[in-house]
Amino acid sequence: MHIMVVLRLVADLGGDIEIAHGGKDIDREWVDLKLNEFDDHALEEAIFLKEIVGAKVTAIMIDGDGVERSLQTALARGADEARRIAVDDTDGPISSRAMTPVVAAAAAELGADLVLTGVQSPEDIFGQLAPSLGAVLGWPQASAVSSVKPDDGSTITVQQEYSGGVSAAIRLPLPAVLGVQTASRPIRYVTGSKLRQAMAEEIPRIEATAAVAMPDVEIVELRVPDEAGGAVMLDGDADAIADEILRLLADRALLQVC
């Protein structure tokens, strides 16, 4: 099995969002980048699979600031190989959907038979990458995956989460694409010495063999939602407060005390 893991760096916004001049993007001047949390889980799951069935793991990223360092860390964590993919003509970050053709081409070229990526990212809350990769490659896919079990080598069985505490086991034939929500085990951190060793490695840079998908959705405006004004503080004894809350519920026809 050859697993390709797609990693993405995302803006580390904390709580503060500054809208850039022009009102269509965030102000990226002072924003730090960090590895997308779910991609981190995808990497962990790939390394976990490597340990239990002996897969080869290749980590890839679209090239840009901070990418070499992230890929070196992926090597230190246990990835066998890493590639940064150069795409030209990019103005700012490439959305998950726009990178799909590039990533799909890389999967085909590297001969991967399992592609893992994070189920979503802060810029792609919906999680388009895995399903659109599945469509472009013509491979089956599952999103919101919380564990991957290799079967006999030609299929895998994954646990897919739905809302409301429901999860289902889905069997997919390889090659396949998975959007990972959580790895089967907690993320392991690497030792300083391993990391220093990996920092010496140069990460090969390869040219993209497909063009990024042109964004055909135009951003009209980006805004930060209005801050709420703050709470009305209730005090008094529990009975008074309970009465107050009951009144609130009754006002909104919410009263269904059982």
Binding site: G134, D216, V224, M233
Partner: protein, 310 residues
């Protein structure tokens, strides 16, 4: 203009996000038809036909559609797509799994997680983990939209649309197979659709306390129980209780946050609740910034008294 709404259902009945997504589909304007694709899903199709505003229900039956897996469902939607200007689904697990595949197969950009319809081609949606709202315009001839259902009211019943069987031959199983479902039996309302959510944070200190103090209150109010990530990570509450950026997004009529500080990632999951009540011993806790009503005090004394007083 005609819109195709993809129904989410369990074959026997429609799931609530469908009626909410219908409200968004109607806001786009024009006719709205609903696709109910499944296995023995006639009852769900009949239910869709009764929703007010639906002009026609397409009913597709196939073994391959029994579990609404992404590949057969996406293939069917693409085969039916020709006459529609917009294809809409709720941004639920099924929608998330299927619609980006549909968009990529049709080679259009999907507009995800729509929370507002500004015009037939202009939509609002949250971005940056819900900390900003983006208004986007989609000039596509065919639009693929997913709708954050909590942002829209459910459409009412009262319609009487025709149900028309459609050919489901396009829905071929691409190899994925449904092995089995594990359903956590729910004795209380589902978190994402509950009208009241009682949620607990790190303050509870143990799984025993979490249950002991929150369950009686939730039972009395007929509420779902939620949790902060800190409570989940510490093992006080199961994974699927988590509300927030990396958990569930809820928009109940009432959200009671107990011993939760109000981190931005938690707020991303609940700030659209109509009324937020926060209980925290720290008067400066950020949760009070978004709460409508605040109570400063200890959850271990306030909750039992409160539950008794109800």
């Amino acid at each position: 203009m005609t819109t195709l709404l993809i129904a989410e259902h369990d074959n026997g009945s429609l799931k609530e996000p469908t009626a909410r997504a219908l409200t968004a589909a109607l806001a786009i304007g024009g006719d709205v038809q609903v696709l109910v694709a499944g296995k023995d899903c006639g009852a769900a199709a009949a239910e869709a036909a009764r929703l007010a505003g639906v002009t026609k229900v397409l009913h597709a039956e196939s073994d391959a559609l029994a579990h609404q897996l992404a590949e057969p469902l996406a293939a069917l939607i693409v085969a039916l797509a020709a006459p529609y200007d917009a294809i809409v689904a709720a941004a639920t697990s099924t929608g998330k799994n299927t619609m980006p595949r549909v968009a990529a197969l049709l080679d259009v950009m999907q507009v995800s997680d729509v929370t507002g319809v500004v015009a037939a081609d202009t939509f609002e949606r949250p971005i940056y983990a819900g900390n900003a709202i983006e208004t986007v315009q989609s000039p596509e001839a065919k639009r693929v939209l997913t709708v954050r259902s909590s942002a829209f009211k459910a459409a009412e019943a009262g319609g009487a649309a025709a149900v028309e069987p459609v050919d489901a031959a396009a829905a071929v199983a691409a190899g994925s197979a449904f092995v089995g479902a594990e359903i956590a039996r729910l004795e209380r309302p589902e978190l994402t659709s509950a009208r009241i959510v009682v949620s607990g944070g790190r303050a509870f200190q143990s799984a025993e306390n979490f249950r002991k103090y929150l369950e009686p209150l939730a039972d009395k109010l007929g509420a779902a129980i939620g949790a902060s990530r800190a409570a989940v990570d510490a093992g006080y509450a199961p994974n699927d209780y988590q509300v927030g950026q990396t958990g569930k997004v809820v928009a109940p009529d009432l959200y009671i946050a107990c011993g939760i500080s109000g981190a931005i990632q938690h707020l991303a999951g609940m700030k659209d609740a109509k009324v937020i009540v926060a209980i925290n011993k720290d008067p400066d806790a950020p949760i009070f910034q978004v709460a409508d009503y605040g109570l400063v005090g200890d959850v271990f004394t306030l909750l039992p008294e409160f539950e008794k007083a109800l």
